[in-house]
């Protein structure tokens, strides 16, 4: 054996050993198991027709089947392009032009073009469709004519050519593109809608990463990967949404290994966190739980000190920790974390009983004396009674006493709208991740009696809300909304209690799973490790 050969052999052995050692130190990439079916938890949706998408269960499935012009980054909720390649507004943001990507196909194989948006949006706005969520299209020119049955096509939506869509609005709206991530704006093929008529919800066709396969009511909905998807193809073969009547049963199936994700039942959150660790996804969600004070009625009317006293009297963390087991976080304002541009700790009201008592005295009710008989209303179910009891006990400590009464949901909404209940619990969750979506519906005076259930009416806020909507500069717009939030909080028409959180748990071999702050999951990103 020559010296040279010996040296080469030694070098070779050293190299091999080094490679093996280095390979051993680098964390192993998880091997992907291809072609698997994901078993997801769901409750029975009302509809899978994009034109009627208004409840969370249907929206979760709709977001897999359909796609829109835009989407949101699942981690940050920042706006991203989807079917639109680009978009630009005119000078005052009242006309928006969208350039569509070419070659996007519906699940029936036909290319989706600009005319499909004209048809789909007009269908939503039409009087005959009677969509519960048509109001999302209200900024578009011609919306009212469609709602009143005077026009069949939205005058403000035009297909300039196959791949250019022009949308004219009734007013300047800088955040209009962000609203287009709501399923009500997702295109549907005319020929399929006409083929199935009222049954389109049972046979939905879109351009999303998964195509619809089967819906056996109250049992399961099966989706299959759409191989001609224009974006990154889904890694799963199928997603089966197993339909449950309640979360407890779903969680038992999850424990038995029959589900890959599941909603965590109330009362089990801490137990699941202990058992599953990071697989329990308890993350911020875009929703607020609040108590409303009807600003048109006594004793709330013209008595900001009293309204503020209520805000100071509540120890929110005790309620979120004890009643909700940490599945909610104490509210720190009106706009929750997760909304791009939200302001941290916007709320000036921390728990301060002395301040509450002081304000109560300034309000004309020292130690609560002279306060009229008050009743706090809530809708029965979902621990609302427990929250009401906790709030009742905390308020009593500063001298504010009231009865609590639970109502069945249908009667409850009627009574609030009729101003029979003037101190009430309500919640609000985002349709799209904008600050406007929390402020405009809830506090714009013209929405009084609809989403503005507290009948809040402040001309300064109204003016600023319209100004913010017109603003195209993102930084300026966000600043304006922060100002509006501050004014509303100072007026205290509501008592913010908590922000919602996602309460989802996933299986051990599930990867790439994100539960967004809008409480949905882009299943096309999910994969299984072996």
């Amino acid at each position: 054996m020559s010296k040279k050969f010996k040296l080469s052999l030694v070098v070779f052995i050293i190299l091999v050993v080094s490679v093996v050692m280095v390979a051993g130190c680098v964390p192993k990439e998880k091997a992907e198991e291809e072609g698997k079916t994901f078993n997801a938890f769901l409750m029975e949706p009302v509809t899978l027709d994009a034109a009627h998408s208004q409840e969370s269960e249907g929206i979760q499935v709709a977001k897999q089947i359909y796609d829109g012009l835009v989407d949101y980054n699942p981690e940050t909720l920042e706006l991203t392009a989807a079917m639109a390649e680009s978009w630009e507004p005119n000078e005052d943001a009242s006309v928006w032009t969208f350039n569509l990507k070419k070659g996007i196909k519906f699940h029936n194989g036909r290319e989706c073009q600009a005319e499909d948006f004209v048809y789909s949006w007009s269908r939503v706005a039409s009087k005959d469709t009677a969509s519960e969520v048509a109001y999302h299209l209200s900024p578009i020119k011609g919306f009212n004519d469609c709602q009143e049955g005077k026009a069949g096509t939205l005058a403000g939506v035009k297909a300039i050519d196959d791949y250019t869509l022009e949308v004219s609005l009734d007013y300047s709206y800088g955040e209009f593109p962000v609203t287009l991530g709501h399923p009500v704006f997702f295109p549907v093929p005319k020929e399929e809608v006409e083929k199935w008529g009222d049954k389109f919800s049972e046979y939905p066709v879109g351009t999303g990463p998964f195509k619809f396969a089967e819906w056996t009511h109250d049992q399961h909905i099966t989706l299959e990967r759409f191989d001609d998807y224009y974006g990154d193809a889904a890694r799963l073969d199928k997603v089966v949404f197993n339909i449950f009547a309640d979360e407890e049963t779903g969680y038992l199936e999850f424990e038995a290994g029959n589900l890959d994700d599941c909603q965590i039942p109330m009362g089990k959150i801490k137990e699941v966190q202990d058992k599953c660790g990071e697989r329990a996804l308890i993350n911020p969600m875009l929703g607020i739980y609040y108590y409303g004070l009807n600003m048109q009625t006594e004793p709330w009317k013209d008595n900001v000190e009293l309204r503020k006293a209520l805000n100071y009297a509540i120890h929110r963390a005790i309620i979120t920790d004890v009643v909700w087991e940490g599945s909610r976080v104490p509210a720190t304002g009106i706009i929750p974390a997760g909304i791009p541009g939200f302001k941290e700790n916007a709320m000036p009201y921390m728990f301060d009983q002395l301040k509450a008592k002081d304000l109560l005295e300034k309000a004309g009710y020292p130690d609560g004396k002279g306060l009229p008989k008050l009743t706090l209303g809530y809708n029965t179910g979902s621990s609302h009674d427990k929250v009401a009891q906790a709030v009742q006990a905390q308020m009593k400590e500063v001298g504010i006493t009231f009865d609590i009464t639970g109502y069945e949901w249908g009667a409850y909404l009627d009574k609030i709208q009729a101003e029979e209940i003037t101190f009430f619990r309500l919640g609000w969750s985002a349709d799209y991740p904008t600050m406007d979506n929390f402020l405009y519906p809830l506090f714009y005076s013209e929405n009084a009696g609809a989403d503005n259930m507290v009948y809040y009416n402040n001309s300064d806020v109204d003016k600023k809300l319209l100004e913010a909507r017109r603003e195209t500069d993102e930084a300026k717009r966000r600043k304006l909304y922060q100002e509006i939030e501050q004014i509303v909080l100072e007026d205290a028409p509501i008592v913010p209690i908590a922000f919602y959180k996602t309460t989802r748990v996933i299986g051990e071999d599930v990867n790439g799973y994100i539960r967004t702050a809008m409480d949905d999951t882009p299943y096309e990103r999910v994969w299984f490790s072996k």
Binding site: V46, T47, H52, Q54, E55, K127, D128, A130, E132, V133, A134, Y135, H136, Q147, D198, K199, S201, E202, T216, H217, D218, Q219, H220, N242, I243, F244, A245, D246, E248, T249, G250, L252, E253, E255, A256, N258, E408, W409, G410, A411, L413, D414, K415, Q417, D431, P441, N447, G449, A450, D451
Partner: protein
């Protein structure tokens, strides 16, 4: 026989009109606007009016009722306000599942309930009798949803021998736990009724005669005593099938069984009148049919009973 059946079916018409009218009026009296329930956000007066208009909810109740009955006479059960699809389609999706589950539960109820009742009566004051009495008391006292969850945890999760929920591929294994849970209270009642009925019969002279003739005890009990003791039990079982379909909501919820009970319950919460009407009407028809079958079976069990309703001594 045919005349009897036709007569009974004709009697059903005023019952149906009465039931539909009562439900319709009840839905009107109940607070809660169906349009408001449908629109969770953006519920401006114009939007709500549009929804009311599209479902005819803004017309007086008698106009809505008249239109409903007119459509019903053509076999049209209307369209669900919430699901925007024909009520008949919803019923077709859910009623067969409820009926199948109820039939299995009824079989369990009949087999176990009657057997336990007979044993308990024959072995009166024995250990077996005490055991049956005790277990039936426990079954009646136990909340159905709690019992159902107990079954799920033991047989589904811990032992893993039966499915926890749903209908799966529709195999018999999926029926066992929900049917047992659904049958639990009813089985206890059947056992109690059978026991009392048997105790009454076994002291009759003709039973003593049968024994004196030297017939075996099994023959005496099964052929002579049980057949005569079955009339109240059959009435109970006959009506129970309807009850098992209509009252299965807790079982359906816990086991996520795709039955009609939950559909009707949700429809009540949502003020979805067409679904409530359709669901209840079909249940009424099932009850009418079951009553008829029970009446016919009386004649088989006791030949002295004639279809005209006259008992001949």
């Amino acid at each position: 026989m045919t005349r009897f059946i036709i007569k009974r079916l004709l009697q059903a018409i005023p019952v149906i009109i009465g039931v539909t009218l009562i439900i319709f009026l009840l839905m009107f009296v109940l607070p809660g606007d169906p349009a408001r329930m449908l629109v969770q956000k953006g519920a401006s007066p114009e939007v709500l009016e549009n929804i009311r208009e599209s479902y005819g909810l803004n017309r007086p109740w008698y106009v809505q009722y008249g239109k409903y009955m007119c459509n019903l006479s053509h076999g049209d059960f209307g369209t669900s306000i919430r699901y925007r699809k024909p009520v008949l389609d919803i019923m077709k999706d859910h009623y067969p599942n409820s009926i199948r589950l109820a039939v299995v539960a009824l079989i369990i109820e009949a087999l176990i309930g009657i057997a336990a009742g007979v044993i308990s009566a024959v072995k009166r004051h024995s250990f077996l009798d005490i055991w049956v009495t005790l277990s039936t008391t426990i079954l009646v006292a136990m909340p159905v949803f709690w019992f159902a969850m107990l079954l799920q945890v033991i047989f589904g999760l811990k032992l893993g021998i039966l499915p926890i929920s749903g209908m799966g591929d529709g195999s018999w294994r999926y029926y066992v736990l929900p049917a047992v849970a659904l049958a639990s209270v009813h089985t206890a009642f059947t056992a109690r009724v059978t026991r009392s009925s048997m105790l009454e019969v076994v002291n009759q002279n003709y039973i003593r005669t049968a024994r004196a003739k030297g017939l075996s005890e099994i023959k005496v009990i099964l052929k002579h005593a049980l057949k005569n003791a079955l009339i109240p039990v059959v009435t109970l079982l006959g009506l129970d099938l309807g009850g098992l379909i209509g009252s299965a909501i807790l079982t359906e919820t816990v086991f996520s069984w795709p039955g009609v009970g939950r559909v009707i319950y949700l429809a009540i919460l949502q003020r979805d009148t067409p679904v409530i009407m359709g669901g209840t009407l079909i249940l009424v028809l099932i009850f009418i049919l079951l009553n008829l079958i029970v009446d016919i079976s009386y004649a088989y069990l006791d030949p002295r009973i004639k279809f005209e309703g006259q008992k001949v001594d």
